[in-house]
């Protein structure tokens, strides 16, 4: 905490006991059991947190769309002793995107706000995060998301019959060899989607399947890490696959991991050595010049899947909110010729190294 900040507030006598004192970030530790419904909500003492939904939508006319909505919470740990209600104790960001092959590139929008005044909040105890008129809320049996962006709008319901899928060691998900390089992480794959999407004034009824990730952590990526690749695939046999790798500066894997849930509900957590990402085809962004491996072959335990994107240009420019540019695209999974499922592929750190 900056010493000058202390001096200012001390001199002006503004150090009020009720305000969140400038304590350190909470640490992610193994062996802590995740409790629901409490851990569906926000964990304000941790540095970063996100609720992240990706999904495939089918319109009534037969068209296919990819959708993504993410809400981020960041605790910057600055100005925490200031008692003003405007003090930026928690920052909230949101990205929303639609992948419409007819448009050829992502339709996306973003929001950024400091938490406060009911205008932007991330509640504790249940999933309830909103910035202005964008919101993601937990409902009976699922979630509801509403986004009103510049070029599109959607109001979607996500229903789940299955319990949360705890990643890593019962929710403690390692991101590197160090003891502190980890996050608390659970997923909710195979969410049934229903609702409506408005693109260019046309309202479309949609249905489909989605995947929710909720992750929170405090420790930034290891110094050697520049970004990560992540997939979340709803398999056509009723199961779900999550795999990721953290990339090192030379492009190789710094760490990896994943989980496979069978149709029967049994979960197998993958060890770092069992996950491999093999780029098949790269695409260069005409806008930023970054090159993304938009088609990859993923080795995850016994599964080997080839992923092909719905369209190449699914790059998301989030510089105005989180300061990053990444690729987040709807992909189809195949094993050889057989279609095995659909989901999303996320590629970060290809534009500039990610500083989390």
């Amino acid at each position: 905490m900056r010493p000058v900040g202390f001096l200012i507030s001390a001199a002006l006598g503004l150090f009020t006991p009720g305000a969140l004192a400038a304590e350190d970030y909470a640490q992610v530790r193994p062996g802590v059991a995740l409790q629901f419904p409490r851990d569906h909500g926000s964990h304000p003492r941790f540095r970063n947190e996100w609720w992240y939904i990706t999904g495939w939508l089918r319109t009534s006319g037969g068209g296919e769309l990819g959708m993504q909505v993410t809400f981020f919470r960041n605790r910057p740990r600055i100005a925490e002793e200031i008692s003003s209600r405007f003090a930026p104790r928690q920052l909230l960001f949101a990205h929303a995107a639609l992948a419409d092959p007819e448009a050829g590139r992502l339709l996306h929008d973003q929001r950024a706000a400091r938490a406060g005044f009911g205008l932007a909040e991330a509640a504790e105890g249940r999933t309830d995060v909103a910035i202005g008129d964008w919101s993601l809320r937990q409902t009976d049996g699922g979630y509801a998301a509403e986004v009103a962006a510049r070029d599109f709008r959607y109001a979607l319901r996500f229903d789940s019959k299955q319990p949360p899928l705890l990643q890593g060691e019962r929710g403690f998900s390692r991101k590197g060899p160090g003891a502190a390089q980890a996050s608390y992480y659970y997923s909710r794959p195979r969410l049934r989607v229903s609702g409506s999407v408005v693109i260019q004034g046309r309202e479309l009824e949609v249905s489909g399947e989605a995947w929710l990730d909720h992750e929170w952590s405090s420790e930034p990526l290891a110094q050697e890490a520049v970004g990560w690749d992540w997939i979340g695939i709803n398999l056509s046999d009723g199961g779900a696959l999550m795999a990721f790798r953290v990339r090192a500066r030379d492009g190789g894997s710094f760490w990896a991991g994943g989980a496979v849930r069978g149709a029967d509900g049994r979960v197998r957590i993958l060890k770092p050595g069992e996950v491999r990402f093999e780029p098949l085809r790269r695409w260069r962004s005409p806008r930023t010049g970054a090159e993304y491996p938009v088609s990859v072959r993923v080795h995850a335990g016994a599964l080997i899947l080839e992923l092909e994107p719905l369209m190449d240009d699914q790059e998301l420019d989030a510089r105005a909110s989180t300061g990053t540019i990444y690729w987040e695209g709807a992909v189809r999974a195949r094993q050889g010729e057989k279609a095995q499922g659909r989901g999303y592929l996320e590629l970060t750190g290809y534009w500039k190294p990610l500083g989390l």
């Binding site: 200012i8 002006l12 600055i78 405007f86 300061g323």
Partner: protein
């Protein structure tokens, strides 16, 4: 609503400087949706926008304060100095000086928890701002406005509009005098060339062609002069802006980086005005030359007839009457158009009457004194028309100079007397004028009141209030009034409150003028978030606050707002207490006392008068210009006259007059003519000054002042002008006197 951005906007005191820096406390996420420029400039660490100890400065502010990224910027809050680190500069095309901090940080630093004073709104396309403004206006607390961004610019523009129009009118005055100069020079030139022009007519040139030729000549002269004048004016403006900045002392243009702007329409206007003045100046003589019969014009000695047309008195009197009537008309859109028109008409009327007045005077003055003087006077009596034009030039220049001198002197004396009455205490402490962030807390007030040597102390709190949406904010002053017997000296009668009347308020003369508040009226002031009702108990003269001021009792103010801070303190000292040692005590005992401005009444008075002089420096400069032009007109008039009378001088020399006697004759003529011109000019100047004081100033700025005549200044001026005019007359005749005597007489064809 598409976006709303809350702002806390304050003028922060910079220790050691007189100007304040505007600081905006913003929520950067919301503000960026409304003001995209916030994303430009040099900003490396985005989080710096949120840190409580960082500040971003605009490019203009960085230049003004000499700051770059990483430097420390000190701001005074209360009496303490707080240091913030400059985290970057903002690119803003408007060249305004301001700085940005995070809103939460601003509320903490400036000790205004929970306070916003501005919310910027961006509406969805298609939304109706008027209706929204109406709906919002009813929900907001009193004392707030809903307006478009142009509203602020319009208000500021309206503020300085009267001032700018005044400056433009002063400049037009100089142009008018210049026009007279051209008229006099051209008239006499045409007269001198009458024989040549008649020759041209005799050779077959039509009247129309002759007039066209003469007008074209003067148009060319006017064009060249106008171009040269524009170039010179431009260069002068650039130099003045660079040396002195845009702030002329009236306080309208603080915090601006002035850039020289070529206002093409205005320049075109002035150019054509210059050409027009030249053309008009020669219109009458040209028409006359064209109309005269060629044969008689060919003969010499016929110049006299030209100026006979200016004889009758009634046109001039009619114009004077209309001018007098126009002085009674009120302002148009806050500008005294009819006042300016009245001044112009008075001037024109007198100028038209000048030949008649000259004739009258020449007849009245007795033929006495040494011979050359008598010859000179006789000549004047015989051919008075020739001097009419020079007289007009002197009268115009002198009257304008005198009127402005009287007005400025009256203003200055009124200001001086007012300062004496309004600064009764022995010592004044100020936390810094023109800023919102410096104040004396109650603890500091107690320390000051308990200082040794202080017999009595009076604390003043000042605030700005928006009373009407289309007018700039007025200043609310809160101090102890009736209990301490400190009711300000009132203009007119006081209103004695009856029991049950709302609390008393004393309004300044300007506020009374602008808002129409009279003693006895009940007014509403938005104090403490509510509309407080007050009775106007009297009107007092105030030269310190140009947008108006209202004085209320401090206990009323504290009761309504809970704000016990103070801005200024007036101290009455025990006999024998010494200002210097008391200043040291204050610096020692009051934390941050070094940031207080401590001044005795004498210092404040001299500083105020210095600011006044600086504000009117432009007026002084224009007066000097008018005088110079008048003198030039005079000299050109006399010079042309002397040339025209060469034959006459030759004849006199033949008759035996020495050169010295001719010189004496010229001197006597010059003295008499300029004496008449000065006399009429003084009288006209006095009349015009009355219009300036009671009509123009009152309608433009709502100032009131008492008339004071600067006798000494005027006497000196008269003496100098007489001497200069006489010298000019002699000097311009020198050429004619030294000419070949025989040759001069021969020129008779």
């Amino acid at each position: 609503m598409a976006a709303a951005s809350p702002v806390l906007e304050l003028d922060a005191r910079l220790p050691g400087r007189h100007d304040a820096l505007k600081i905006l406390g913003l929520d950067i996420f919301r503000a960026a949706q409304i003001q995209p420029f916030l994303a430009g400039g040099e900003i490396s660490d985005r989080l710096d926008f949120l840190r409580a100890d960082r500040i971003f400065v605009s490019g203009a502010a960085a230049e003004w304060l000499g700051l770059k990224k990483g430097d420390a910027l000190s701001i005074q809050v209360g009496l303490r100095v707080i240091s913030l680190r400059v985290a970057g500069t903002l690119g803003d095309g408007r060249r305004q000086r301001f700085a940005v901090v995070d809103l939460g940080a601003a509320q903490a630093i400036f000790a205004r928890p929970g306070v916003l004073n501005r919310i910027d709104l961006r509406l969805r396309p298609g939304a109706d701002p008027q209706r929204l403004a109406g709906r919002l206006g009813s929900e907001l607390p009193p004392g707030t406005l809903v307006e478009r961004p142009e509203g602020d610019a319009e208000r500021t523009g309206a503020l300085s509009r009267a001032y700018r129009v005044n400056l433009n009118v002063l400049a037009l005055v100089a142009l008018f005098t210049g026009g007279l100069l051209v008229f006099s020079a051209q008239a006499l030139a045409v007269v001198r060339r009458r024989s040549q022009l008649a020759l041209l007519r005799a050779l077959g040139m039509t009247r129309r062609a002759l007039v066209a030729m003469l007008l074209a000549e003067s148009a060319v002269v006017g064009a060249v002069g106008a171009l040269g004048g524009i170039a010179l004016g431009h260069a002068t403006a650039a130099i003045v802006l660079r040396r002195f900045g845009a702030e002329l002392g009236a306080g309208y243009f603080r915090g601006l980086e002035p850039t020289l702007v070529l206002d093409m329409p205005a320049l075109a206007l002035f150019f054509s005005a210059g050409v027009l003045a030249a053309v008009l100046g020669s219109l009458a003589p040209a028409l006359e030359a064209a109309r005269a019969r060629a044969a008689s014009a060919l003969k010499s000695g016929d110049e006299e007839r030209v100026l006979e047309r200016l004889r009758p008195a009634w046109p001039g009197l009619a114009v004077l009457l209309v001018g007098a009537v126009l002085t009674q008309v009120g302002p148009v859109r806050g500008l005294p158009f009819f006042g300016y028109a009245a001044i112009a008409l008075l001037l024109i009327g007198t100028v038209i009457l000048m030949p008649g007045i000259a004739v009258l005077c020449f007849r009245v003055v007795p033929l006495l004194g040494p011979l050359p003087a008598r010859i000179g006077l006789a000549q004047l009596r015989g051919a008075p028309g020739q001097t009419g034009v020079s007289l007009a030039a002197i009268v115009a220049a002198v009257s304008l100079m005198v009127s402005m001198a009287i007005m400025v002197t009256s203003f200055r004396r009124s200001l001086d007397e007012w300062l004496e009455r309004v600064l009764p205490a022995d010592l004044y402490l100020r936390t810094g004028a023109g800023s919102d962030t410096a104040f004396l807390s109650p603890a500091e007030q107690r320390v000051i009141a308990a200082l040794p040597g202080v017999v009595r102390v009076e604390f003043l709190r000042s605030q700005r209030l928006f009373v009407a949406p289309d007018k700039p904010p007025i200043t609310l002053l809160a101090r102890a009034v009736e209990a301490e017997g400190r009711v300000p000296p009132l203009l007119g009668a006081a209103y004695v409150r009856k029991p049950g009347d709302p609390p008393a308020a004393w309004v300044s003369e300007i506020a009374s003028n602008v808002y129409g508040w009279q003693p006895g009226a009940v007014i509403e002031l938005p104090i403490g978030g509510r509309q407080g009702r007050f009775t106007v108990a009297g009107v007092w003269r105030d030269y310190a606050r140009q947008q108006g001021a209202v004085l209320i009792e401090r206990y009323e103010y504290v009761r309504t707002t809970g704000d016990a801070n103070a801005n200024d303190a007036a101290l009455w000292l025990a006999p024998g207490a010494d200002q210097a040692s008391l200043s040291r005590e204050i610096e020692g005992r009051v934390a941050g006392g070094a940031n207080l401005e401590i001044a005795g009444p004498g210092e404040i008075r001299s500083l105020s008068l210095k600011i006044f002089d600086r504000t009117f420096a432009v007026t002084y400069a224009l007066e000097a210009v008018a005088v110079i032009i008048g003198l030039l007109g005079l000299s050109s008039g006399f010079g042309a006259l002397a040339l025209a009378r060469r034959r006459e001088f030759g004849m006199l020399r033949h008759l035996g007059m020495t050169r010295r006697q001719i010189g004496a004759m010229l001197a006597a003529q010059g003295l008499l003519v300029s004496a008449i011109g000065l006399g009429v000019g003084l009288a006209l100047g006095w009349l015009i000054s009355l219009v300036l004081i009671h009509v123009v100033n009152r309608q433009s700025f709502h100032w009131g002042m008492d008339l004071h005549l600067p006798w000494q200044l005027l006497a000196e001026f008269v003496a100098v002008m007489l001497a200069l005019a006489t010298l000019t007359a002699v000097a311009s005749g020198r050429q004619a006197m030294s000419g070949d005597v025989v040759g001069a007489v021969k020129e008779d064809w």
